[in-house]
Amino acid sequence: MKTKVMLIDDDKEFLEEMNEMLLLSGYEVVCIDDAKKAACATLEHEPDVILLDLKMPDKSGFEVADELRYLSGACGAPIIVMTAYFKDELQPLLNLCGVRKCLKKPLHPLDVISQIEEAVAGR
């Protein structure tokens, strides 16, 4: 069975390219372009791994991550966050929200794949 990856980001072009890239790499992909829909979508699709942007309008990645953590049954998929501007101060907050990995933008596709593989393997 294919690994199901859920992408949450407000940038549509980003989602499009990532979607293409992950499909090419043999993953099943669900794209969510609205942070508010993240919780429902997770319950619906039960992804194996979630790629989550930290900076989004309406709802930040931290909030989404925190929410997902408490939707038990929501599969407990590992969350990998993506951010353009990483500060050391953010690390404790990420730990608190149960985030395991952090990818720094601009993402390199090969990095993304290896991180996904690592996360799924360690699940």
Partner: protein, 608 residues
């Protein structure tokens, strides 16, 4: 009125005589010139062989200010006569205190006059004789007269007439003298007043000159020296051309420091450079806040030394609102008599200096405070700029890295989908440029986020190894021979922020690699040594690249200064900043075309 009492001849004589005296007061230039001429006139009018004009001075003596005919010996004994202490007819005339024994010789005007002194002497009892010094009789004067010099309601001195012959001073001569007395006194007073006015004017001018000096932009010491020069050159003051100013030491308030002098021999300059209070009379002036006048004559034998000049000196405290700032020492000529007028002048001089010194010091403090203010303002605006850059950098990072990510992924997808190898070169270029852009953003972020170093124990050798390896990897398409000469750093541990130090070495190495791009032979030489004596580690990075222009050399640490087509101009700024925060320094040596050498010195231990 005169004519009715005296007859016309006498009246004419009176008028002519008084006009002659008045003429003198108009024609003469000084008091002494006037008195000399007046004595000569009186000599002629009276027909007596000896004539003198005595004037009371501030000390209560009544010296002969001018005279005709008296012998030197006579004057010597008489000049010391003191109104307060001595008894004689002349003293009593001036003090208006005639005794009953004088009565027979007194005129209604208050003059004392005898025309046969021996006969007068015989009429005196033994006790009464004590009231007379008898100097005139001893000198053989038979005719003696003392006529008070009246100025308004006071008596300022006397005219003394004397002659060895008897009956030389008849009533009309006494009458004439009494008539002339107020005229002469008026003249004396006129000269005295004009002298005083001139002196006050001089003093005012000198004080003004000193005040004007204080406005000039000269150092305090030069100002003090010029102020001393101004006052010792006052002609009517009996000052030597020698003076000094000592100020209380800022660091040691128990010591006086010689700050300015004129006319002191070199020897004293050294000996008096610093004087503790208790060791000198100058010091005593400071401690007691009083004027000290030391007369040569008053010195004990033991404090005199051969070749010591015969003059005394004033020590004046410089007081500002009861705070002692120092002292002025002024030397006076031999035979100088301490007097109130001079002291008052010196006091105002000291007060003026005190005000100037105090103002200078306050100005200095103000100036320093102002500089500090400007400096902290600069720092603040610098900090403001940094935080602006920080905000900007964060925004740029967000807004640019997202699209960069999309571009990168898109390029990846194209490569995957397209079977056309001709596209690969272009896709590689896209990848390369995305990486470069990301590096610029990183630099910008790094610059705005320089924090105080987080010190920990760092193995500097390992860090250098790591950085050279990283640089080599980054520029792997580039053949550069890296000469490592830093084995001496093995085992060397220093207190520093490892991340920041890596940043510094990384930036310098990046630059070195970039500088070598145009070279065929590319060498980077890294030397390192631990200088325990200086307490620092020194590492130099030398390349044989393009070198740096002299004018650019100065601007290396300036933010946003760059000569590269694609650079933020922040790499070295960050490096200088970091090393500075570590208490170290970066020295750069370079010439255009001859490579560059960056020497980094970092202290072994964190500075407290």
């Amino acid at each position: 009125m005169v004519s009715r009492r005296l007859g016309l001849d006498a009246a004419e004589k009176y008028i002519r005589s008084s006009r002659a005296i008045l003429n003198l007061s108009a024609r003469m230039f000084s008091r002494s010139q006037y008195l000399d001429a007046a004595a000569k006139l009186i000599f002629g009018f009276s027909g007596c062989r000896c004539v003198g004009i005595r004037l009371a001075d501030a000390a209560g003596h009544i010296p002969y200010e001018s005279y005709q005919g008296f012998s030197g010996k006579f004057l010597e004994t008489e000049n010391n006569l003191c109104l307060g202490k001595d008894q004689c007819a002349c003293v009593r005339v001036i003090k208006r205190e005639a005794k009953p024994s004088d009565a027979s010789a007194m005129t209604p005007f208050g003059s004392f006059c005898v025309n046969q002194s021996r006969d007068f002497d015989k009429t005196l009892s033994k006790d009464e004789r004590c009231l007379y010094r008898g100097v005139c009789i001893e000198n053989g004067f038979l005719s003696i007269a003392v006529i008070p010099l009246r100025y308004r309601s006071s008596i300022i001195g006397a005219i003394h007439l004397a002659d060895e012959r008897e009956n030389r001073i008849p009533g009309d001569v006494i009458g004439l003298m009494e008539f002339l007395s107020p005229v002469i006194a008026e003249g004396v007073q006129k000269f005295e007043l004009s002298d005083n006015i001139r002196k006050s004017y001089d003093i005012q001018r000198k004080i003004n000159a000193i005040m004007r000096l204080s406005l000039e932009e000269i150092g305090l010491e030069e100002l003090l020296r010029q102020a001393l020069e101004t006052i010792v050159f006052i002609p009517w003051m009996a000052f030597e051309l020698k003076a000094a100013i000592f100020l209380v030491d800022d660091d040691d308030p128990q010591t006086l420091v010689l700050r300015a002098h004129i006319g002191l021999p070199k020897k004293f300059e050294k000996e008096w450079a610093r004087i503790p209070f208790e060791q000198s009379l100058s010091g005593q002036a400071v401690v007691n806040r009083e004027v000290y006048f030391i007369d040569y004559a008053d010195r004990g034998q033991e404090t005199k030394y051969p070749g010591m000049p015969l003059y005394g000196h004033y020590n004046l405290p410089i007081l500002f609102v009861n705070k002692i700032l120092g002292i002025i020492r002024i030397y006076v000529r031999e035979g100088y008599q301490r007097n109130r007028q001079d002291e008052e002048f010196l006091f105002s001089f000291a007060a003026a200096l005190a005000a100037i010194i105090n103002r200078r010091r306050t100005e200095k403090k103000l100036f320093k405070a102002y500089e500090e203010l400007i400096e902290s303002q600069n720092k603040l605006s610098g900090a403001q700029r940094l935080s602006d850059i920080g905000t900007l950098a964060a925004t740029v990072a967000h807004e640019l890295r997202n699209p960069l990510g999309v571009i990168r992924t898109a390029a990846y997808n194209i490569r995957k989908k397209s079977k056309d190898p001709q596209l690969y070169g272009h896709l590689d270029n896209i990848d390369k440029k995305v990486m470069e852009s990301d590096r610029i953003i990183s630099n910008l972020l790094c610059y705005s986020r320089i924090k105080l170093p987080h010190h920990e124990k760092v193995r500097i050798y390992d860090i250098l190894e790591e950085c050279t390896a990283a640089a080599k990897n980054k520029f792997k398409d580039f053949k550069v021979s890296v000469l490592k000469k830093y084995n001496g750093l093995k085992g060397c541990v220093l207190e520093a922020d490892p991340l920041q130090i890596k940043e510094v070495f990384g930036n310098i190495l990046d630059n070195a690699y970039d500088a070598l791009a145009g070279n065929k032979r590319r060498v980077i030489e890294i030397e390192g040594a631990c200088d325990q004596a200086a307490g620092e580690v020194k590492i130099s990075f030398k390349d044989n690249g393009a070198g740096i222009d002299a004018q650019d050399l100065k601007r290396l640490s300036e933010p946003f200064f760059t000569t590269k087509a694609r650079g933020t101009g922040l790499g070295l700024t960050v490096s200088f900043q970091i090393v500075h925060l570590h208490g170290g320094r970066i020295d750069v040596e370079s010439r255009k075309g001859e490579g560059a050498s960056f020497s980094v010195a970092i202290p072994l231990f964190k500075k407290q």
